[in-house]
């Protein structure tokens, strides 16, 4: 099998995905965030490569050029990169809040808490927070 660009890109996607999944299954928030970031790279490259691989032909219109890279996946991936930054920031904030609030950065709840509702009649569900006195 010839060592082709296609194989390099495909294997890079595969390796990033594998690394991402492995880190995603770790028990602490920080590796999970790293895992999500790796998966983001993998997905972005995957989407990008759906336009097939083109070397040396950017989608900038030019009178002499006849071949262009597919611009559509590029536009989609560009916004995906920016949005995934936003999403990463949100999960980092959540992880940080969870760590600062509970003093632990484990991703799994320590035990399942079945009776978080304090009342049998559901008429009261959601009234857990005591809030006496008018605002």
């Amino acid at each position: 099998m010839m060592l082709s660009l296609e194989l390099l890109v495909a294997s890079a996607i595969g390796i990033l995905t594998a690394g991402g999944i492995y880190l995603l299954l770790r028990l602490r928030t920080f590796p999970v965030i790293m895992g999500v970031s790796l998966l983001t790279y993998a997905v972005n490259i995957f989407l990008f490569s759906s336009g097939r691989l083109t070397v040396g032909a950017p989608p900038i219109l030019n009178d002499s050029a006849t071949l262009y890279a597919d611009p559509l996946p590029q536009a989609l991936v560009l916004t995906a990169i920016v949005i995934s930054f936003g999403m990463t920031a949100v999960i980092v904030m959540m992880a940080l809040g969870s760590y600062l609030g509970n003093n632990t950065d484990l991703v799994n709840d320590p035990l399942v808490d079945d009776d978080d509702d304090d009342d049998a009649s559901v008429g009261n569900a959601g009234d857990v927070t005591p809030q006496e006195g008018r605002p």
């Binding site: 082709s4 296609e6 595969g14 390796i15 990008f48 691989l53 262009y68 904030m93 799994n108 559901v122």
Partner: protein
């Protein structure tokens, strides 16, 4: 005034009370009153055409493909209801101004009230039934907010939830019914549907549609067996009860039955269901009302009973029945709203609504006593008051109605209901106002100011006027009835009279009033029997039903959703891999159509670095700082890959995002442990590695497969390449797609980005206002900090470089349309220029120089992009159509001006705002942790005097 404006005014006006909240209670209620008054006057300007029998319609297309259009119509029925809603609304607003205490948030109250008012007016003026459904749901939601307005009262919250559950369920059923109706007729316009009575009633789906629509109407109008939510909704403040639960919202179901009357009524199904439910509700409500002790409970059950009466009349399907129903709607609205407001006055002045603790109030509160007595006598059906007139008409209609082949059934039940109705009305008067004066009232009762008794007094004047001179409203009631019937031909010739002669209805009426007096005399005995009788409690049944649903949902969800994130992730990964594998082995793979391109040594080297960094990241992930460096390398190599594969825009974006992400993660790592401990067993890790390798192999196989094959269908990219310059005026196709072809997507995306940043800001605020704050302040860094936090070299360098970086950003932005660049990338570059200042000189120094808050920057960006889009409406083009032109200013070359550039500027601002707000939020946490944040730009500053220097 245009119907659009009448409906829109309350909604637009709902913005005002919140704004006026700080200006005082008079201003807040005043502005609400003026909004309602404007809508009311607007309605009255349409009175002449309604009186002339015309139907006023306006409409614009909304979603014509779905049949959903914003069409409104105003006929007699619509006018009648809108008149009640806005007219009584005005009285309620005046009353609520004096009723609410200083502790109540008046702006919130009036906002909800106006939302509700707008939704109600929308229902009664809608021509399109889908539009009607939208308003219908809005009334459910706004009434939920109003019932639960006193959030500190558990009964209020429970009552609000119950009302929402019941009316919301009914609303869903009604959507189904309306859709069936629309399918049968082929149109969702009421004006069309109402012309097709025969078509609808002959359709096999008529009965399902009828059942579903009636479910909606019955739940809204509290008809048996859905009557139970209304008494629980009485936990609302009294103005709400008076407005929603007597005069307006509960009449929405009645309105709908009247509206649909021409096409749905007259069948045996309609008669049995509607008259049957009405009769049961009427008797049941009246009986229960007699034994309630809470003034508002009595009134609530009496409302249930009277709504049953109106439903029963509509069910008979005769023109006279509709006539009596319309008249009773008017009468009931006047006396019941007055009664509720009076009950509110008593509650307000004596601090109790328990009828057993009252009595003798006629001496202490003479004005209230007069108002409430007249209104209650009207409710009892005493002559010369309006309640008498419509009750007589109801009794007369009942004698004409034969149900189940039993001639006496309907008249007997009607008389029984009237009897109990007289009974509780008399009890209300006798036990509240008569009897000896007591000395154990919770508060010293006295008549309130005019603000509270004025509105009910006004209604009582109407009660008496209509009662004495019914001919004043007769023509109006006939016009309304004509629009219920859909024709004027069947209109009854009988007119409303006080004296009909010695007809059966008179004897029934006499029996009811006489029996009512006896009931009051025997009340204490009857009450004992009632209290001793076991009865099903509707709330208990309702709660049990709901909790059985909840436990069913729990038993389904909890085993799957047990809080173990790793488990969900593993299940998801394995499922996706399995599904992919299944698709692969069952599908057919075509032959490769693309020739593979040979890998150059450069590509191989880049690949090797990417793979090495990924492996490094996975194997070294326990050392978090090292992991971060590895991730930086991965990101960098991905950017290089984008360059190699002809995607310069992507490369620049990835590169700048990478820088920002690393800064963000470093900030977060500042608070988190530096290492991840070894926790999982070797077996676990092997298992995870197996899943990961399987997933990676799947992704690789899929990518490799399609990289060697052409797309199955022709990609649309050719269109973009061909039209980018011609249509969008730019040569950088990627940027033209972003700001032009797919501008709407981009617009959505900057909004998402802005929301994400605001979410982070909100989370930070929550953390900083909670117990975490103390922990952050007391936190001791686990590693020694650098001596000089703001080194001079870095400060000087970042200051010097800032204009350069901004210039680069400007350049990248300007050339974006034609060369790699654009708003996203420029936004990120500008952010980095600013972030460098934060890094060099610290949060305090940088943020004290911040002139615009980042929230505003995000908002300005989204607004600018949105306004650019809206701008194209003014030249009759769809949202976000762009235009461009070329101009030449003498010393420069010819250059292009495109509206897309303004849009791109919006993108830039939104990106800058979002990135900066995110980073700023993170560093606010840091600032709380290290209180030694200096206001000086750097630690060592030769220009400062040595005495103020802090040692480095």
């Amino acid at each position: 005034m245009s119907l659009f404006l009448i409906v829109a005014l309350p909604f637009l006006g709902a913005l005002l009370p919140g704004l006026m909240n700080q200006a005082g209670r008079d201003a807040c209620s005043g502005v609400t009153f003026m909004v309602s008054l404007a809508a009311f006057i607007g309605l009255l300007t349409n009175l002449p055409s309604v009186l002339a029998g015309e139907v006023v319609t306006v409409g614009i297309d909304w979603m014509p493909l779905l049949g959903l259009n914003f069409t409104l119509m105003l006929d007699g029925l619509g006018f009648f209801f809108a008149f009640l809603i806005l007219g009584i609304g005005l009285l309620i607003i005046a009353y609520a101004r004096h009723y609410l205490s200083r502790d109540d948030n008046m702006g919130e109250f009036f906002t909800y009230l106006l939302l509700f008012q707008g939704a109600m007016v929308g229902i009664v003026l809608s021509d399109n039934i889908l539009l009607l459904l939208v308003f219908w749901e809005l009334t459910s939601l706004s009434s939920f907010l109003l019932i639960g307005y006193w959030k500190h009262l558990p009964e209020g919250r429970q009552g609000a939830r119950m009302a929402l559950a019941v009316t919301g369920m009914g609303g869903l059923a009604m959507i189904g019914g309306m859709l069936i109706l629309g399918q049968i007729v082929g149109s969702y316009e009421l004006s069309v549907i109402l012309q097709h009575r025969d078509l609808i009633q002959a359709d096999p789906l008529y009965v399902p549609a009828l059942l579903l629509i009636l479910l909606g109407a019955f739940t809204k109008s509290a008809q048996f067996p859905f009557h139970f939510w209304l008494p629980h909704a009485m936990a609302a403040p009294t103005p709400v009860s008076a407005y929603l639960h007597s005069a307006t919202m509960v009449k929405a179901g009645i309105f709908l039955m009247a509206r649909m009357w021409p096409v749905l009524s007259g069948t045996p199904e309609w008669f049995v269901l509607v008259t049957g439910a009405g009769l049961i509700t009427m008797v049941l409500g009246a009986v229960i009302a007699l034994f309630k002790h809470d003034l508002k409970s009595v009134l609530a059950f009496s409302t249930v009973s009277h709504l049953g009466l109106i439903t029963m009349l509509l069910g008979t399907g005769t023109a006279f029945g509709a006539f009596a129903a319309v008249f009773h709607i008017l009468n009931h609205a006047t006396f019941k709203a007055a009664l509720f407001m009076s009950a509110g006055i008593i509650d307000h002045e004596t601090h109790t609504r328990d009828i057993r603790r009252l009595g003798g109030l006629r001496h202490l509160m003479p004005i209230t006593a007069v108002i409430m007595t007249i209104a209650a006598l009207s409710m009892a059906g005493v002559p010369l008051l309006n309640g008498f007139l419509s009750k007589e008409m109801m009794l007369e209609e009942s004698t004409q109605t034969v149900m189940f082949n039993t001639w006496w059934l309907v008249p007997a039940l009607a008389t029984l209901a009237a009897l109990f109705s007289a009974g509780y009305s008399f009890r209300l008067i006798a036990h509240t106002f008569f009897g000896p004066k007591r000395d154990d009232y919770p508060a010293a009762p006295h008549d309130p100011g005019f603000g509270l008794w004025g509105p009910p007094a006004f209604l009582v004047v109407l009660v008496v006027t209509i009662g004495v001179a019914p001919f004043l409203v007769e023509d109006f009631v006939k016009i309304v009835t004509a629009s219920v019937l859909g024709t004027t031909a069947e209109l009854p010739h009988a007119y409303i009279k006080i004296w009909h002669g010695l007809v059966p209805a008179l004897y029934m009426s006499l029996a009811a009033v006489g029996g009512g007096v006896i009931l009051v005399i025997m009340h204490s005995v009857l009450q004992k029997i009632w209290d001793a009788t076991p009865r099903p409690e509707a709330k208990v049944i309702f709660d049990a039903t709901i909790s059985s649903f909840v436990s069913l949902a729990r038993s389904l969800i909890l085993p799957l959703h047990n809080g173990a994130f790793s488990r969900y992730a593993a299940i998801a990964a394995v499922t996706i891999i399995g599904a992919g594998y299944f698709a692969w082995i069952t599908g057919v793979q075509g032959a490769a159509t693309r020739a593979p391109q040979a890998a150059t040594p450069v590509a191989l080297a880049g690949w090797a670095m990417l793979v090495a960094a990924t492996f490094g990241l996975v194997f070294l992930h326990r050392n978090r700082l090292l992991a971060l460096i590895m991730m930086g390398i991965v990101g960098l190599m991905v950017s290089v890959g984008f360059v190699y594969f002809s995607a310069p825009d992507l490369a620049m974006t990835q590169f700048t995002v990478e820088a920002v992400t690393i800064i963000l993660l470093l900030l977060a790592l500042n608070f988190m442990p530096n290492r991840s401990p070894v926790e999982s067993t070797v077996l676990h890790r092997v298992r995870d590695a197996f899943v990961a390798v399987a997933g990676g192999f799947g992704a690789m196989a899929m990518a490799w497969h399609y990289l060697l094959r052409d797309a199955v269908a022709t990609p649309i990219s050719e269109f973009h390449l061909a039209n980018s310059y011609k249509g969008g005026g730019g040569t950088n196709v990627v940027n033209v797609i972003l700001v032009d072809f797919r501008g709407f997507d981009t617009y959505g995306e900057i909004i998402v980005l802005g929301i994400a940043a605001l979410l982070i800001y909100a989370l930070t605020e929550t953390l900083l206002n909670g117990p975490v704050r103390a922990r952050l302040l007391n936190r001791v860094p686990d590693q020694p900090r650098a001596g000089g936090m703001h080194p001079m070299m870095m400060v000087v360098l970042t200051r010097v470089i800032m204009p350069v970086v901004l210039m680069v950003g400007f350049y990248i932005f300007m050339r974006g349309h034609n060369e790699p660049g654009g708003g996203f990338i420029a936004g990120l570059i500008v952010s980095i220029a600013v972030v460098m200042q934060y890094m060099a000189s610290g949060f305090s120094w940088a943020s004290s120089r911040l002139r615009y808050p980042y929230h505003g920057v995000i908002g300005a960006g989204v607004l600018l992009a949105g306004l650019t889009g809206i701008g194209s409406w003014f030249v009759n083009k769809p949202f976000l159509t762009t235009d461009f032109t070329y101009v030449r200013i003498p010393p420069f070359e010819k250059f292009e001006l495109a509206t897309a550039a303004i849009f791109d500027l919006g993108v830039l601002l939104a990106v800058v705002g979002a990135v900066m707000l995110t980073l700023e939020s993170f560093s606010r946490l840091a600032r709380t942790a290290h209180t030694k944040d200096s206001v000086h730009p750097m630690d060592i500053d030769p220009s400062r005097q040595a005495s103020t220097e802090e040692g480095a």
